[in-house]
Structures are given as C-alpha cells and as structure tokens.
C-alpha cells in the first residue's frame, strides 16, 4: 500500500510543482469556453436551447479531464526510456501496485485540473443548479479521470516511440472529445454520428456531469454512472494487463 501511495504522491507533487504547465494547459479549454461558448451562444439561444455556457461548461470540464489524463500516457512513454519507470520495474514490488499508483496519480492530477477549469467556468458565468450537485458531479469526474488515465497507461505501455503518440492524439483523443457531445446536444443527430457518440465513454461522462449540474441529461444519470463504472473496470484491467507486459 505504501508503494501505491508513494507513486501516487509522486505524480501529485510533480503536478503541483509544474506551475507553468498548469497555466499552459488551461489554454485549450479556455479557448473552447471563451470562443465557442460566447461565439455560438446567440445561435444556441435562438434555437431555443437556452444558455450555451450552461450547456458546454460540463463538456469543457470533461475535455480537460480527458486531455490531462491522456497526457500522463505520453509522460509514461518518456519515463520508460529516460526516466523513472525502469527504476520501478526492477523494484521488488508487484507490477500491479506500480500501475495502480501511477494511474491513480494521473487521475488525481486530471481531477485537480478539472477543478481548476470548473472554477474558471464559474467565473465565466456557469451556474450549477444546486451546491449539493457539485460533490456528486466530482464523483463522476473522478470516474472519467480513472477511465482515461487507465487507458493512457495501456497505450503508454504498448507504444515504443514518441511518434506513436501523435497518432493517438489525432485518432483517439480528438475524436473522443468531438464525439462526446461536449459541445453539441445529442438530440436529433444523424444516425451514424449518433451511433458513434454512443460508443464513446466520454459521452456518458459529460452527460452525467451535465445531468447532475444543470439537470439536463440524454441517457439519465443512472445509466451514465453504470456505463462509466463498467468501462472503468474494463479499462483498469486492460491497463494492468498491458502494463504487466512491458519489457524494459
């Protein structure tokens, strides 16, 4: 347990020390919130959908969590050749403990970053329906973080080169974001797009957070939580399996 804890602590410490990176990684989400949020706001309102900022704030939080968690996969790839990963791989501790420590650390960092963006959305005018909803939303956000941190671990364990990560960004992370309904409603989508959104785990994450925070949900919060839990277990197992196969 101390092993899991110290590896978790390492990720969190490193995050809190990288002030520049914290600020820099706020750039993307701020752009979406500021430009899309206010830019598409009038159209959204005219279409009778209400406030766009209200609608997309949960999506931007989900996006931040997704990006931060997936980034820990790049860090791992780097760590593998030029860093600390080898040190942990020859230590007399089970691989599973190392994987869990890293994944929870990555997930925690993603939640912290999500919290930061949440505060920013509040400043931008986002208003959750009730204060009680906030802790509940964070449980869902934590689930999203674990899912993608575990996926990042799996990918980081499977890739050998940095170039591979560009592929992952373009063909996995970006589609996951755009298909998640973070920036558009899921109602009345063309059939193919609708089907695609349904296989994206982030869709259920964003829908759940939105359901809890502003009371607007497509699938219902219960189904969202169930899907997230299921995918979470699946991805953690997958990540642990891939991690156990790393050859130093």
């Amino acid at each position: 347990m101390t092993v899991v804890f110290i590896l978790w602590l390492r990720e969190v410490k490193k995050y809190l020390r990288s002030r520049v990176q914290i600020v820099a990684s706020l750039g993307g989400p701020l752009m979406y919130l500021g430009v899309l949020g206010f830019g598409l706001g009038p159209v959204f309102r005219r279409a009778g959908e209400g406030s766009y900022i209200q609608f997309m704030a949960p999506g931007v939080i989900g996006m931040t969590v997704l990006f931060t968690a997936m980034f820990s996969g790049i860090a791992m790839l780097w760590d593998r050749q030029f860093g600390f990963l080898k040190e942990t791989l020859v230590a007399p501790v089970p691989r599973l403990a190392i994987m869990i420590g890293r994944t929870l650390g990555g997930a925690t960092v993603a939640v912290l970053q999500g919290t930061l963006i949440f505060v920013v959305t509040l400043i931008a005018g986002f208003r959750p329906v009730s204060v009680v909803a906030v802790p509940l939303a964070f449980l869902l956000i934590a689930l999203i973080a674990v899912i993608f941190s575990a996926l990042a671990t799996a990918i980081g364990s499977s890739l050998k080169e940095m170039q591979g990560f560009q592929m992952v960004m373009n063909f996995l992370v970006m589609p996951t974001f755009f298909l998640s309904g973070a920036i558009y409603p899921l109602e009345g989508l063309p059939r193919v797009l609708g089907a695609l959104t349904r296989v994206d785990p982030l869709t259920y994450g964003v829908d759940g957070v939105r359901g809890v925070l502003i009371g607007r949900t497509h699938f219902g919060v219960a189904l969202d939580v169930a899907v997230l839990l299921g995918v979470g277990v699946l991805f953690v197992l997958f990540g642990a399996w891939r991690f156990s196969k790393i050859e130093a």
Binding site: V3, I6, Q81, V90, A91
Partner: protein
C-alpha cells in the same frame, strides 16, 4: 569473502527472433570482487545484465544470483541487487532526497534505516549539500552519482553498473571510479560493470571478461589478458581479441528516442 560465486551463469543463450544476442555464455563472479564486462557495441553486455536483473528471461541455459534463479525468483533476486542502467532512470522533477526516499519505499527499507542510509550515501557521493535540489539542475556526473547512491540504498549484494561513465567528462569519470573502488571496500558489495573504455576496466576491475558477438572470448585479470594475447596494453589485448571492425547496428526505437532526448535537453 567466500569462494561461493555470487553470480553463476552457465551456457546462457538469449535470442530475439533470428538474432542471437548472447550465445552460450558461462562465467562466475566471486563475492566482493569488481567484475568488468568489456566488449564492443552490440556484443551482448546489456542483454546479459538484463537477464541477471530479471528483465529478460534466457532462451536457454541457467543464471544464478546469490544461488537464486532470476527468472523464477524475481522478487527475492530484485532485493539482492542494485542497478544503474545505461539510460538515466531518475525522476528529474523530484529532488535528490525524494528520489532516494521513493527507492527506499519501493524496496521496503524501514523509515529509520532509510533516513540513515540516505544520509550516509548522499554524503559519501558528495551530494548531501544538494539533497533538496531538483535533479534536473544536476550535472551528468552528479546524476550518475545519485543513481549509484540510490542503487546502494537497500544494501544490495550486487551492484550492476551498465556503462556508468558514458558521456561523462574525464574529471567525473575519474571521481566515479575512485568511488566505485571504495564501494567494494566500504559496502562490501560485488560490482558488476560494463564499459567499452579499456583503461577504465584496467584500472578498476579485479577480473575482466571480454565479450564479442554474444560469446565470451577471454576472461581473467588485466595482466592475464595481456599475457594471453602477448600485448602490453589492455587496449591492444582487446583489439587482438575482438578485431578492428567497426560494429554498425541498425537503430532501434530506443536509439531514436535517445536522439530526440538529446535535442530536447540541448
């Protein structure tokens, strides 16, 4: 020092597909000695270390570290050695002390002993004053020293050093070898190192094994090797044993990463 070998390798073979990296290698390392593996690039040095440090399983043959098979007794074997890899394995975003401390936790060293060992070793490796500085501010030599100090924290029986002086300036190399020589005296640890600097092996090692194309071509003390080849320097002996052809390896993914890392770190 007992006569029982701390490392025993018998007819070890490791193949990757059609390439045989280590081809029927046998040798013993005595407890307490400094043993050097000397060979050109791609000779099989790192592969042998990886097999002994439980990271690779041999295709055939047997390996023993302190009487235990690394392939079947991973955890027990891991407790018994420290290792400094060719590529750095420090966390440069953490301080020297934090790197040491995490290692202690990973190796289940009790808190009190951990503190004492960290202090002793950081002082020994002249890093005590810098213990609270981030590792990324360290020079190449300091990083290597920290890695060795870390590798010794859990008082291992064997310390593996895979090309520990690669990329260091002459001063740092000199200091490194003085420290390594003292180690076997102060810590009583067996040192297994690889290098392709002949002068260094000559200076520091009790016994040297020359490996080439995955086979051991000679083994003995520096003077024995010179005698055997009828040469007067280890460098000449080395070239006599391994030939003068330059070894061109095809670049692996790791080599490409190394290139990128060089650019990124200026």
């Amino acid at each position: 020092m007992s006569n029982h070998p701390i490392i025993r390798v018998q007819h070890a073979v490791k193949s990757f597909g059609s390439i045989t990296a280590v081809n029927d290698v046998s040798f013993d390392v005595r407890a307490g000695e400094i043993f050097a593996f000397l060979g050109p690039n791609g000779a099989g040095k790192t592969t042998t270390i990886k097999m002994l440090t439980t990271l690779l399983r041999p295709t055939s043959g047997s390996l023993e570290l302190d009487g235990l098979d690394p392939a079947t007794h991973q955890t027990e074997v891991r407790r018994r050695f420290g290792v400094v890899f060719q590529d750095p394995s420090l966390d440069s975003e953490l301080t020297a002390w934090e790197n040491m401390d995490i290692h202690g936790v990973l190796y289940h060293v009790p808190r009190q002993i951990r503190r004492e060992r960290c202090e002793t070793l950081l002082k020994m490796f002249e890093l005590w004053e810098r213990r609270d500085d981030l590792v990324k501010t360290f020079s190449g030599g300091m990083k290597r020293r920290l890695e060795i100090a870390r590798g010794l924290l859990h008082t291992p029986k064997v310390l593996f050093l895979d090309e520990p002086t690669l990329g260091l300036d002459p001063q740092s190399r000199n200091q490194m070898w003085t420290l390594v020589r003292n180690l076997s005296k102060v810590e009583g640890v067996t040192v297994f190192l690889t290098t392709h600097y002949m002068d260094e092996a000559d200076r520091v090692a009790d016994r040297i094994a020359v490996i080439d194309h995955g086979r051991i071509v000679a083994i003995g003390s520096s003077s024995e090797l010179k005698q055997q080849t009828g040469t007067d320097s280890l460098e000449a002996a080395f070239l006599a044993l391994t030939g003068t052809t330059i070894r061109d390896e095809s670049a692996t993914a790791a080599d490409q990463m190394r290139q990128v890392a060089r650019v990124w770190r200026r």
